[in-house]
Amino acid sequence: MGNMLGLVGTGLLETIYMTLGSTVIAYIIGLPVGLLLVVTDKEGIRPHLVLNRTVGIIVNILRSVPFIILLVWVMPVTRAIMGTTIGSKATVVPLVISAAPFVARMVESSAKEVDRGVIEATISMGASTMQIVRKVLMPEAKPSLIIGAAIAITTVLGYSAMAGIVGGGGLGAIAINYGYYRSNSQIMLLMVIVLVVIVQIFQEIGGRLSNKTDKRIR
């Protein structure tokens, strides 16, 4: 049993590492893309139909590929980048490819919530597009962006567990290897419980952080 606990402990660490690492990289790509979508929108501060459509279509295509298919499909890319297709490190590649477009849409919807009138007021003060993005869109959308990040993390967490099927590491791999292939229902149940608890924790932290930063609440 002690052996089992050690296994779960390692799995948990691997899962957290995969999830947070992938989410961070997904934000590095998805945040600017999401902001680009808002800025170049027909009603945006710098409409650019061609750019907006092109990026939008790429995002949609990536989002419509089921993660389990993407996982197998991008294996050559994964090998090229990571040198391997198995283990938690390798899983980061498909996770990022899948999460970045998701993050872009989340960021887009958060930034679109910023009141049009506030943006116009800042334009009337002579703000440039970059200043509006950095000083208005992002700070004003912050509470919503934080909620979005919590949702993104939990989504990536779910995907990372799925990656266990094709040799990814972490809790998902344990659930598949012990719970499914060796029909150990206790292990399976334990994995589910651990995953549920982690999701709860991230949601809770996200919710609280968001409320704390939101100055619209008295």
């Binding site: 116009e120 334009i123 002579g126 004003e140 100055k215 619209r216």
Partner: protein, 342 residues
């Protein structure tokens, strides 16, 4: 006025959309606003007021025509030059449009930050501005913690932080209760005097114009239908649109009919006649009652402006007496058979 105008609109046209759904919001607008004045633009909803004021800082780019502010033709400027020019044109809105995640102080700092002022300098100036609008003690409050009037004061402080020459106000008091409206109008007037900033006031309420404006343009159906000194427009509203705004809910508007002889007399007060209870005196002198169908009169600078619509008695002799009484009293009037058009 011999001075150079600070804002000049020449042959301005703004059309939204194209083809079937095309809307002409402004058509052939020519307008000059002079330094230091408080200029009002009034019109009913949808007349094009917001579009007009938004053309003054190019939030809306006109389809045709020229916008000259402080000697610069805005439509010819590069994007960078336009951003610079906008620093000398402040603007406030009906919805305040404050940054909700910034304190009052940081909201006022915002335009200064945009200019690249240091945090220290920005805060110093922002504190001065908050004190000017009477909110020195609320600098740490977030907009959600302020009342409507206080929010508009922060917005005014923010708009004036860069020492602009012009302040554009688009329905700035329309979301406020009457008392707060008055205090904001008084503040605008005070800032106009103290800082010399030219103020352009957009509103649908005559009482706003009456309270602070020196000149007014009446905007109706994308055109300026009347323009001049406020007192002058009050005295002789030439157009139907002007009368509708000055005497809201007039009979022309409601189209209601009144029982009785069906003959009406419209008394017109244009500030010339001495202030006295004309109708009462007339009724006493002629010994016959009249029905007051509609009345809207105002005292401005001790002079009476407005209209009273009387329904006359059926008796021709009494009517004759009443008319001669009014002639003697120096009251202008028009006789009307039918009061409602259409």
């Amino acid at each position: 006025m011999t001075e150079e105008p600070i804002i000049q609109l020449k042959g301005l046209n703004k059309t939204f959309g194209s083809g079937e759904g095309q809307v002409v919001a402004l058509d052939g607008i020519d307008l000059s606003i002079y330094p230091g004045e408080i200029f009002g633009v009034i019109g009913l909803s949808g007349a094009g007021k917001s579009t007009l004021v938004r053309c003054m800082n190019l939030l809306e780019r006109p389809t045709r025509g020229e916008v000259i502010v402080d000697g610069q033709s805005l439509t010819t400027l590069s994007e960078k030059e336009l951003r610079m020019a906008r620093r000398s044109i402040g603007m406030i809105f009906q919805g305040f449009n404050l940054l909700m995640q910034r304190t009052a102080l940081d909201n006022v700092c915002f335009p200064l930050e945009l200019m690249g002022k240091s945090r220290r300098e920005a805060r110093k100036k922002a504190r001065e501005m908050l004190a000017t609008v009477g909110l020195a003690d609320r600098e740490k409050a977030y907009p959600a913690q302020l009342s409507g009037g206080q929010k508009q004061r922060v917005a005014i402080a923010r708009a004036l932080a860069t020492d602009p020459k012009v302040l554009l106000c688009d329905e700035a008091t329309s979301a406020l209760d009457p008392t707060t409206t008055l205090s904001i109008l008084e503040l605008l007037k005070e800032l106009n005097t103290r800082l010399g900033v030219t103020v352009v006031v957009i509103t649908h309420e005559m009482k706003v114009i009456e309270k602070i404006c020196s000149r007014v343009a009446i905007l109706a159906h994308s055109h300026i239908v009347e323009m001049g000194a406020v007192e002058e427009i009050f005295r002789h509203p030439k157009t139907m649109e002007a009368r509708t705004l000055i005497y809201p809910a007039s009979v022309e508007e409601t189209g209601e009919s009144y029982p009785g002889g069906g003959r009406f007399l419209r008394l017109i007060f244009d500030g010339q006649a001495t202030v006295r209870p004309v109708v009462t005196e007339m009724v006493l002198a002629c010994g016959a009652p009249v029905n007051i169908a509609y009345a809207d009169t105002k005292l401005i600078d001790g002079k009476m402006y407005g209209q009273i619509l009387l329904e006359l008695p059926g008796d021709r002799v009494t009517v004759g007496k009443m008319l001669s009484f009014l002639d003697d009293a120096g009251v202008k009037y028009e006789e009307e058979e039918e009061t409602h058009n259409g």
